[in-house]
């Protein structure tokens, strides 16, 4: 209905079209498919070279880790969960924006999502891959990590379903699977486009296999759209549950600073926050490189900046409430933990987190800043850093000052911790760059539906009233 009202508004304040530069069906296909069909710009090769090298370092480190054991990390009593768990939560959080953009915004009929959803979904998949890596290598004997799943075995034992850590296994693996299905299913029609345009034999075969024989039949579209809607409706509660369950890993433990009921919503808000920041970090350079400026417009970026600011303030609110409850509960231990967080050994980490997550995004109050590519890129990078620190603060401050003062300990990471975190970025970017190179980075079929001429009788009605 807002759109109906918009029609009567003067031209100057009407929201701009979602797609700009006079694109039509043909040009959208060309713009997007060309990325996958022609040799990428030189920058891609350089970036890919770096990413693959870093991935190589990661693999070498993992080999050493398997050989030597988790003792190469800084983890020890009382901080038994060090960087690996911090990194896990960090990456899972990033993985939330993709499904949120695709599913939640889809259900709310936010059509601006069509230009960025494929991109964000791909980011989700690769981020969840990185996330899944960390608990798997954190179990100490990664080759036995399959014990986490209820697989019949010769020991006749079953995993303990009463532990939040097992819930986590189910939540994260369900999330990875459903995100993959969602991403892939949305991509099938676009893969068919690439198949039909392919001139060489091998690409035609490979795109053809993954396009599953899609012909664009309307009877198929009918079921496809239904399936897409249902998947979106399923993915939405899923996305909310995943980070809630991740937060249970902490909240169900009876450790001051962890044992709080605000954790699930606080974690979910943080996840959306960090995910959107990551989308901006990736999107700003990618649209530049691949010439997608007409599809991913300033309006898209501006909307994302707004989401970042809003979720940043939610996270800030959660930081505040934690302190309030620590005081209000009258619990000495809880109170100590929070005073220690802000003023103790790790105060530097705490204030880094507050600065990056709460203070810096405030610049997005200004329209000028929301529309400045450099500013948004820099702020998004800071948010990524800040959100990593948030997980660090939660995980490490509470455990390093546990109930028994004689075992208090200042956690120091080792070089291996740092290199493996860095390496996970190699993993992420390798896959991401391959995605940008070979797959449709923008959901062509969906973008076409937001063009006015995609709707029968469009001369009588503006596009957005339909649907």
């Amino acid at each position: 209905m807002a759109e109906v009202a918009a029609r009567e508004l003067p031209e100057s304040i009407k929201p701009p079209d979602l797609i700009q530069g006079g694109e039509d069906f043909t040009s959208i296909t060309n713009t997007v498919a060309r990325v996958a069909e022609y040799k990428p710009p030189k920058g891609w090769y350089i970036a890919f070279g770096i990413a693959v090298s870093v991935l190589g370092v990661l693999l070498a480190m993992l080999g050493y880790l398997f050989w030597k054991g988790v003792g190469i990390w800084g983890n020890n009593q009382p901080v038994a969960w060090g960087w690996p768990i911090v990194n896990f939560v960090f990456w899972v959080g990033i993985g939330h924006a993709g499904t949120l953009i695709s599913a939640v915004l889809f259900l709310f009929r936010q059509q601006w999502r069509t230009s960025i959803n494929r991109f964000a979904e791909a980011m989700t998949i690769f981020a969840v891959m990185c996330a899944g890596l960390f608990p798997a290598i954190h179990v100490g004997r990664p080759w036995l990590a399959y014990w986490l799943f209820p697989i019949p075995n010769q020991m006749r034992m079953w995993p303990n379903f009463r532990s939040p850590l097992l819930w986590d296994v189910f939540a994260v693996s369900t999330y990875a699977t459903v995100s993959l299905l969602f991403w892939y299913m949305g991509m099938v029609p676009d893969l068919a486009t690439l198949r039909d345009r392919a001139t060489k034999k091998l690409p035609r075969l490979l795109y053809g296999v993954f396009a599953l024989g899609w012909t664009g039949s309307n009877r198929a579209w009918h079921r496809f759209e239904r399936a897409y809607l249902l998947l979106a409706a399923l993915a939405t509660p899923l996305v909310l549950s995943v980070h809630s369950v991740v937060s249970f890993d902490f909240a169900v433990a009876q450790l001051p600073g962890w044992h709080t009921t605000i954790f699930p919503p606080y974690f979910v808000a943080g996840a959306i926050f960090s995910g959107f920041a990551m989308v901006i970090t990736l999107m700003v350079p990618a649209r530049q490189f691949f010439g997608l400026k007409n599809l991913v417009t300033m309006r898209h970026l501006e909307n994302m900046c707004k989401v970042i600011m809003a979720t940043g303030m939610m996270v800030g609110y959660a930081y505040g409430v934690e302190f309030f409850i620590a005081w209000y509960s009258g619990n000495k231990y809880e109170g100590f933990v929070f005073i220690n967080r802000a003023l103790g050994n790790y105060a530097w980490a705490y204030w880094t987190m507050v600065t990056c997550n709460v203070l810096l995004p405030q610049v997005f109050w200004f329209r000028k800043m929301r529309r400045n590519l450099v500013v948004m890129f820099v702020i998004a990078a800071f948010v990524n850093v800040g959100m990593w620190f948030e997980r660090f603060v939660i995980t490490v401050t509470s455990t390093s000052r546990d109930f028994l003062p004689s075992s208090w300990h200042y956690f120091t990471p080792t070089l291996f911790d740092a290199v493996i975190l860095l390496g996970s970025f190699g993993l992420f970017f390798t896959f991401f760059l391959l995605f940008c190179r070979f797959l449709p980075t923008v959901a062509m079929a969906e973008v076409k539906t937001v063009l006015p001429e995609a709707h029968p009788g469009h001369h009588h009605q503006p596009a957005e009233v339909e649907r």
């Binding site: 050989w67 019949p152 075995n153 189910f170 599953l212 496809f224 029968p456």
Partner: protein, 402 residues
């Protein structure tokens, strides 16, 4: 091979959405049933024009979701409460709230499978081949053109159909032959598929084998660092200590377990003739009573209460839960009452050492000397309380007056 190729159908191309929707409506109104539109994106209003019935997919998804939900609860209940029950952190073997997260995730997982695979199955996908793939112009169906196809097998189909279709605003009309031989995947591709499928079957086969066989040898350890640990074992040399031995001698005065004469009165509470000791086998003094008070507060008061009357937190809590989950709680005895008062110290000692009825023994935690001290303290406690309860006692009268 027949001379005249069989007809798959007739294909009409449209430039824009409006003419497509209008044409689709006319085709349906003309009575055709085996026809379809092919478009690069879902065109709204086309379902209505074509008379496409709502799909049953939502029901499939619902069914799968319910299977996930029920299966999730069943899985957790059966594995943790039936097949392999073990108590952890005092939690019940199966509790509904704790089972929700996993059942919730499995609901979504299975429902999503239902949506994805259900959609594919209903659409007859994946499909290697379609006659339309041989039509050159059809490659724009996934980009920027719109097509209507009426199949030759439609009962209404007649030789005039193509011409009629052209009159509906199509920019081009073409008949599509049914090829004699459909395209098939290249051989190497088929081979690859076979190899991948067989490899994918390996893990389940290994699981099945593991489940139904017994291992004769310990698991092979790829990384041996647990088998050969850096630590000192008995009889090894160690540079850490002056005497060069890894094993440390006992501290002076240590009595090994069982070294105490197990038949002495001090150790059993009984006289050589088997009767309970009526006197204490060690010197009775104020210090021993104090020691007994301290040990009693540590080891006994949790159940019997500081005043020995059995009204402790543990007892109260146990009474509250009496009867729940099959509990049958015997309250701790009143240590100041007649029954215990009548017992000789040797018998109290034996109760502490070996336990009695439902009370556990404490010989592992409390040294013999301290057990005697507790027995002595009990006697002192009883006497002190008897004095307190004596008629005319000031504190007691206040108590009664309240």
């Amino acid at each position: 091979m027949s001379a005249e190729p069989r007809l798959y159908g007739v294909l009409a191309e449209f430039e824009d959405v409006d003419s497509l929707v209008a044409a689709a409506r006319k085709v349906r109104e003309a009575g055709y049933t085996r026809f379809d539109a092919h478009t690069p994106f879902p065109v709204h209003g086309l379902d209505d024009a074509m008379g496409v019935q709502p799909t049953i997919l939502p029901w499939i998804v619902l069914l799968c979701g319910l299977i996930g939900l029920g299966g999730g609860f069943l899985l957790q209940w059966w594995t943790n409460a039936v097949d392999y029950p073990f108590v952890i952190s005092g939690k019940p073997l199966f509790g509904l709230p704790g089972a929700v997260p996993v059942a919730y995730e499995l609901t979504i997982l299975l429902a999503s499978f239902g949506a994805f695979f259900g959609m594919l199955a209903l659409n007859g996908l994946p499909k290697w081949y379609h006659p339309l793939f041989r039509v050159a112009r059809f490659s724009r169906a996934t980009s920027d053109r719109f097509y209507l196809v009426i199949q030759g097998s439609d009962p209404f189909f007649s030789p005039a159909t193509p011409e009629w279709l052209a009159s509906l605003g199509a920019s081009a009309v073409e008949t599509v032959p049914e090829p004699d031989e459909p395209d098939t995947p290249p051989r190497w591709f088929k081979g690859l598929t076979w190899i991948v499928t067989s490899l994918a079957l390996l893990p389940p086969a290994m699981i099945a084998k593991a489940r139904f066989s017994e291992m004769q040898h310990p698991r092979v350890h790829l990384v041996k660092n647990m088998d050969f640990q850096k630590k000192f074992k008995a009889q090894q040399a160690s540079p850490l200590f002056a005497d060069g031995r890894a094993m440390r001698p006992d501290p002076a005065g240590t009595v090994a377990r069982g070294d105490l004469d197990p038949t002495s009165t001090l150790a059993t509470g009984r006289n050589p003739d088997g009767s309970y000791a009526t006197a204490y086998p060690l010197a009775v003094d104020q210090a021993l009573i104090e020691r007994g008070r301290e040990r009693f507060a540590i080891y006994c008061a949790t159940c019997h209460g500081l005043d020995g009357r059995g009204d402790s937190m543990v007892a109260r809590r146990a009474l509250l839960r009496q009867g729940q989950q099959g509990t049958n709680w015997v309250p701790p005895a009143d240590l100041t009452g007649e029954a215990v008062a009548a017992q000789p110290p040797g018998r109290i000692f034996e109760t502490i050492s070996r336990g009695r009825n439902t009370m556990p023994g404490y010989s592992q935690q409390i040294r013999p000397r301290d057990r005697w001290a507790i027995a002595l303290y009990l006697e002192a406690l009883r006497q002190a309380q008897a004095g307190l309860d004596a008629p005319g006692d000031k504190d007691n009268q206040e108590e009664a007056g309240r």
